[in-house]
């Protein structure tokens, strides 16, 4: 079975994110970059599936991004992924989900695939669109934000639990399928020392748009960011004074009711 996992390089969750001096994006200075948090669950599920199915199954990570993305691909290889595909092209710097999906689809089709795992969204732009655009390009079903994964005996169908508001939705889907993963699905493994050693010898295939016959793809422009805005300053916090907790609580309840009008 050919298992694909999509990967993205994003700023650390704990990073302080500020607008750059040109007002054209974020200031990357001093920002630590990591594997998109949700992609770790996708890697783990891909590796678990390979263990379940066995045979000559392979897990391949596909990552579109800047040169430095090699680091996160190496991390995935150290976790046990077999092979990396790195699509790196300056023309893709501001690619929209439609463009990203077109290019990813080409690379994934060239490689061959039975199932694709990805994170539920990138924690940078938080758009959660690439999965669906890619599903449409590849003409396969999609299932989003899953909490449980099972595959049928004949490896042709998956049984999933999908988190929705206040409930779990049971979903059945036919392979090939693309599935987005979230926290709670599994516990991503750490790279072992032997894993790290082995990863150094594993293949990372580097591709440009020309290699994918997609040179025109990046020209398709459907949206433009016209403003980057900082968070509005929060007002002063009113610290409620009082002799003892009960007194403070009474005053808080009064303020919430009379001043904030939320009770």
């Amino acid at each position: 079975m050919k298992i694909i996992v999509l990967l993205k390089r994003v700023p650390d969750t704990e990073a302080k994110i500020l607008i750059n001096s040109k007002g054209s994006g974020i200031n990357e200075e001093g920002v630590k970059f990591i594997i998109n948090t949700y992609d770790e669950y996708a890697i783990e599920e891909g590796l678990k599936l390979k263990e379940t199915v066995g045979g000559d199954s392979t897990v391949t990570v596909v990552c579109m991004g800047v040169e430095e993305s090699t680091e996160i691909i190496r991390t995935a290889l150290a976790m046990g992924v077999d092979k990396g595909i790195h699509i790196c092209d300056a023309a893709l710097e501001k690619a929209t989900p439609a463009v990203i999906a077109t290019v990813l689809a080409k690379a994934i089709e060239d490689n061959g695939f039975d199932i694709i795992f990805c994170g539920k969204q990138g924690i940078d732009y938080d758009m959660a669109q690439t999965q669906a655009f890619l599903a449409e390009k590849l003409d396969i079903p999609q299932v989003n934000v899953i909490a449980e994964f099972k595959i049928s005996e004949d490896n042709k169908k998956v049984f999933l639990l999908r988190r929705i508001e206040g409930a779990d939705e049971k979903v059945e889907a036919d392979l090939p399928v693309i599935i987005s993963c979230a926290k709670g699905l599994n516990e991503p493994r750490y790279a072992s020392l032997p894993g790290i050693m082995k990863a150094k010898k594993k293949e990372i295939k580097k591709l440009t748009l020309a290699d994918l016959d997609s040179s025109g793809a990046s020209e398709e422009k459907k949206s433009t960011i016209i403003n980057w805005l900082p968070l509005p300053k929060s007002g002063e916090c009113k610290i409620i004074e009082g002799e003892e907790p009960g007194e403070k609580a009474v005053e808080l309840a009064r303020l919430l009711r009379e001043e904030a009008k939320v009770l």
């Binding site: 969750t13 704990e14 302080k16 994110i17 948090t37 949700y38 439609a98 924690i123 732009y125 938080d126 758009m127 959660a128 669109q129 669906a132 655009f133 449409e136 390009k137 396969i140 079903p141 999609q142 299932v143 989003n144 934000v145 999908r162 988190r163 929705i164 508001e165 206040g166 409930a167 779990d168 939705e169 049971k170 979903v171 036919d174 399928v177 926290k183 709670g184 422009k221 949206s223 433009t224 016209i226 403003n227 980057w228 929060s234 007002g235 916090c237 009113k238 610290i239 409620i240 907790p245 403070k248 609580a249 808080l252 309840a253 303020l255 919430l256 009711r257 904030a260 939320v262 009770l263």
Partner: protein, 325 residues
């Protein structure tokens, strides 16, 4: 391309209330384009539920209700919507940023070659185009984004940001429409919905959230938060630390790797306010912090603060609110 289509989501036989906020968004756009607002309801009971949105100035409501759309499937619902959009040439299509809206909207956008803006919190119309405001980096910044060229624009709108539409003149026409879905188009199907135990609203939909952090000692201590949440018809939330400690399920985690919430009242109990937590709740209308440590960063984001032990303050607060209500 001047008309607007809003998607009315049916879950458990009910129409999600975000639809009235979508009408408000639609009005912002029609004031600029001069177009009309139509709605589409897909699923069981669509026709009956369409009565809930009468009197809002909607021109026409399409109701699609046959056995192939009784249960949600991305592909089935995408077929209905893409056909409708292609037939009628809608320029703007609005969804609530819910589990269904976030799954469905990009698939339809991809199918009709449109552009999509996810999780928007505000809209304006300027120089003949719609400009949407949306959070990025989990709410650490915002961007304003606009479409390029004449293409269908898909917008998912985060609930609780725009006011629900008030009534407006004009009769709404209702039209039953065949789904056009064939069985073999659906390769992934939602077969069953299992409600979570507890009966409290989901944190993404709750108007009040009482959240607990590292200061909570164990699962049992969350009951004092639950008591206050139940009194206010709200939900209990949690920080990453207590979810990772296994005290509470991941489904109630607030923050960058949990859920993004936007209630009217957020009471943070024993939560220090790590960046990734603030990212998940900072757009709450009123934030209250209860923490022993007066230097906790949460106080910088809160509107009201009590420096004290949550195990003393919260029960006293519950008691007082019980008297007031």
């Amino acid at each position: 391309m001047n008309d607007i289509l809003i998607f009315g989501e049916i879950r458990n036989g009910e129409l999600k209330r975000v639809i009235k906020e979508l009408v408000t968004a639609g009005r912002i756009v029609t004031e600029g384009t001069g177009g009309s607002i139509d709605a589409v309801l897909i699923g069981k009971g669509a026709s009956d539920l369409s009565k809930n949105i009468a009197g809002l100035g909607i021109r026409k409501t399409f109701c699609v209700d046959d056995n192939l759309v009784e249960k949600y499937s991305t592909e089935g619902y995408a077929k209905v919507l893409s056909d409708l959009i292609t037939d009628s040439g809608y320029g703007y299509i609005f969804f609530g940023a819910t589990a269904m809206g976030r799954d469905l909207s990009p698939r339809v956008a991809a199918r009709v070659d449109g552009v999509m803006f996810s999780d928007c919190v505000d809209l304006r119309f300027q120089d003949g185009r719609c400009i949407a405001k949306r959070p990025v980096y989990s709410g650490k910044l915002f961007v304003e984004i606009a479409p390029v060229g004449k293409i269908p624009v898909f917008i998912t709108l985060r609930p609780n940001n725009l006011p629900p539409a008030d009534s407006a003149a004009g009769e709404t026409e209702t039209e039953m429409r065949p789904s056009g879905v064939m069985e073999d188009m659906i390769r992934a199907l939602a077969t069953e919905i299992i409600p979570m135990a507890g009966g409290r609203p989901d944190i993404t939909e709750a108007e009040v959230i009482i959240a607990g952090g590292r200061a909570m000692k164990d699962s049992e201590s969350f009951e004092i938060l639950g008591e206050l949440a139940d009194l206010l018809g709200g939900a209990v939330g949690a920080s990453r630390a207590v979810v990772d400690a296994g005290y509470v399920p991941q489904s109630i985690q607030v923050g960058q790797t949990g859920k993004i919430v936007n209630p009217k009242l957020y009471i943070a109990c024993g939560i220090s306010g790590a960046i990734q937590h603030l990212a998940g709740m900072r757009t709450s209308k009123v934030i209250v912090a209860i923490n022993k440590d007066s230097n906790a960063p949460i106080f910088e984001r809160a509107h009201y603060g009590i420096v004290g032990d949550l195990f003393e303050v919260v029960p006293a607060l519950t008691e007082e609110i019980r008297k007031l209500l």
